[in-house]
Amino acid sequence: MLLSDPQWLPQLMADLKLVMPELWLVVTMCLVLIVPFIRKGNVILPVFVTIFGLLMALLASQGVHLDSIDTARQGLVFSNSLAIDPFSSLFKTLLMIFAMLVVVQWTLFGRDNTHALDAPDFLCLLLGATFGMSLMASANNLIMIFIATESASIPSYALAGFRKKNKISTEGSLKYVLFGSVSSALMLYGMSMLYGVSGSLQLSHIAGTINSQGMTPLMVVGLVGMLGGFAFKLSAVPMHFWCPDVFEGAPTEVTTFLSVASKGAAICMLARVIQNFGTIVYNEEILTGIALGVGALGAVTATWGNLVALHQSNLKRLLAYSSISHAGYMIMGCAVLLLVDPKLILSALLFYVLVYMFMNLGAFTVAAVLERHLGTLDIADYAGLFKKSPTLASLLIVFMLSLFGMPGLGGFMGKFLLGAGMIKAGTLGTVLVGILLLNTVFSLWYYLRPAYFMIFVDEQEDKTLPVIAPLRPAIWTILGVCCVMLFWTGLLPAVGTDIAEDNGQMIVASAKRAQDTNSQHTSNVNEPIAKADAHR
């Protein structure tokens, strides 16, 4: 057993160093709960503790390079249950930055609607969800995938219903819980099939089973079930019904958080599963089959999201459907991970998440300002806004154009890199790029609708807009940072792409190693030691 191994304890201590970001999050969570005992009813103190904790987690997630990790251990810690590699570290860095921005956004908007004594609860739930998402990015076996998904989901349910007195918020939260539990059950069912077929919880070993046994029908059922659970987190099409209701009802900062962080983490998880299959399975037919399935899911999601977004009149619902279609683009990217050089796609995904983070943060912040000062989210009510507050209106237009993919803005570079990776994947890739382009063209219609109302439609006589009071400098700072980041990543993308490229590496346990750790009833798998970047 493991305990009889004299190296057990030192190894555990070494492993702990690699999960410092998660440890910092847990410590901060406890601190946030303790702080109210020092000064009851103070909001600023827990906010500072949270931001400090996130900053420490951010620093702790730095400095993971493939060279610096002990090559024998490959950065797979705690008996392969977590993979600490450049890909997950960069995602964690982005996640922490984003969580900090969301906390700032909450202090600016949500605080007024929250009782001062509830502030620590909110921050603790936010940290808990961040903790789960950060584990999702690293999860490398079935148990971790499941428990990380739950750690990210359950706090999100509570966050979505945080406005307890608000009917829409409560309804959204309830729908979220119901959908979430059904998809968790589906995912568990699929996982039990995979475990039954392969006798192992390791992703690499399950992939190895495909080599030895072929793609058995039970394996297909298991994979589809697991993909169903992922689809819920990604709000991919058959599982997307919760998304608009939750996004409309939840406090805006929670919507911002869920739209980027939860989807980004799920994309990381999907990419890791697919990467494991891509490196270990050598049967090209099976790989193409998996790519086709995932690609179809992405294509349907992107197209459906865009089609429904065409006739949305509520700004938050429109952004919700837009986030569904963006998730679709990222899934399409994941699909071709099996067929091309994984580094291309992995770095494109990281860059996409980076840009998407600022686009959505900006767009939702403007939505929060409009909701608060005008009391409406109906796009038609924004007629004549451009004349009254040109800066705010132009900022919203910039964010919308970036979401559409206007050249010169970050969103274009994100889509471009993703498409450039996809086009190398043969016929399937070409088809997917075609779907991506077509969807982008369609989406222009609804992304420009707010701009049309704000600029070209005159204010109605009976419904005059209230004047927007001067905004706090901090709000302008957030909006300014988002805007600058979008122009920067759009016009001078080199810095961003370099960082993404450096980190586009993912560790995959060799099937042999998985066999060693799973001494129980293994089948014959003899694969070469495979590293993500060295393969193909």
Partner: protein
């Protein structure tokens, strides 16, 4: 007690009854699960759920996963079910509340269920199963091994579950708290 039971699995007499026991437990599980879906009285549903969970525990015993079976009985049949019954009694004025479903809802549900069952049967029939459950489980999986594995190899999921429970408790406390 568990070890004696596990050792008993090897004896011929138990091996002979095992298939019949399996059929009985499986029948209990499936029939009461079926009744949960059909029944319209929520308290009866809870009772049928008890039989389903008990049947599953029996199946675990037959697969010589005694620890899991005990946990199944203690946690699910014991704890969770009581919680459900209490929940029903506390939330609805009339505990014998009836849940009505539309005809078309029933038709869709039956259709989907049959489709899924067919899919599973086809998938199982076409997959070569190398080991049966008993062979896979009965490899020295006593509580001692389980405990050590849980605190060494699966330490992280175990700890993460603890953190998860803390967050869940905070979320639940927030939701249940009454404050202006």
């Amino acid at each position: 007690m568990f070890t004696t039971l596990a050792a008993g699995t090897d004896s011929e007499s138990l091996a002979q009854v095992a298939p019949f026991l399996y059929l009985i437990f499986a029948a209990i599980t499936i029939l009461s699960a079926w009744m949960i879906v059909i029944s319209q009285n929520i308290v009866r549903m809870a009772m049928y759920l008890l039989f389903t969970l008990g049947g599953v525990a029996g199946l675990y015993f037959l697969m010589s996963a005694e620890f899991l079976a005990a946990i199944q009985l203690i946690v699910y049949a014991g704890g969770t079910l009581i919680l459900i019954v209490f929940g029903v009694m506390l939330t609805s004025k009339n505990p014998f509340i009836r849940l009505q479903t539309m005809l078309w809802e029933r038709c869709v549900a039956i259709g989907l269920g049959l489709l899924l069952a067919m899919l599973m049967v086809i998938a199982l029939a076409n997959t070569p199963i190398k080991q049966t459950g008993t062979e896979a489980v009965a490899q020295n999986h006593d509580i001692h091994t389980l405990a050590i594995t849980m605190l060494s190899k699966y330490l992280v999921p175990f700890e993460v579950a603890a953190v998860l429970l803390l967050v869940v408790m905070i979320g639940a406390a927030y939701m249940a708290r009454r404050r202006a």
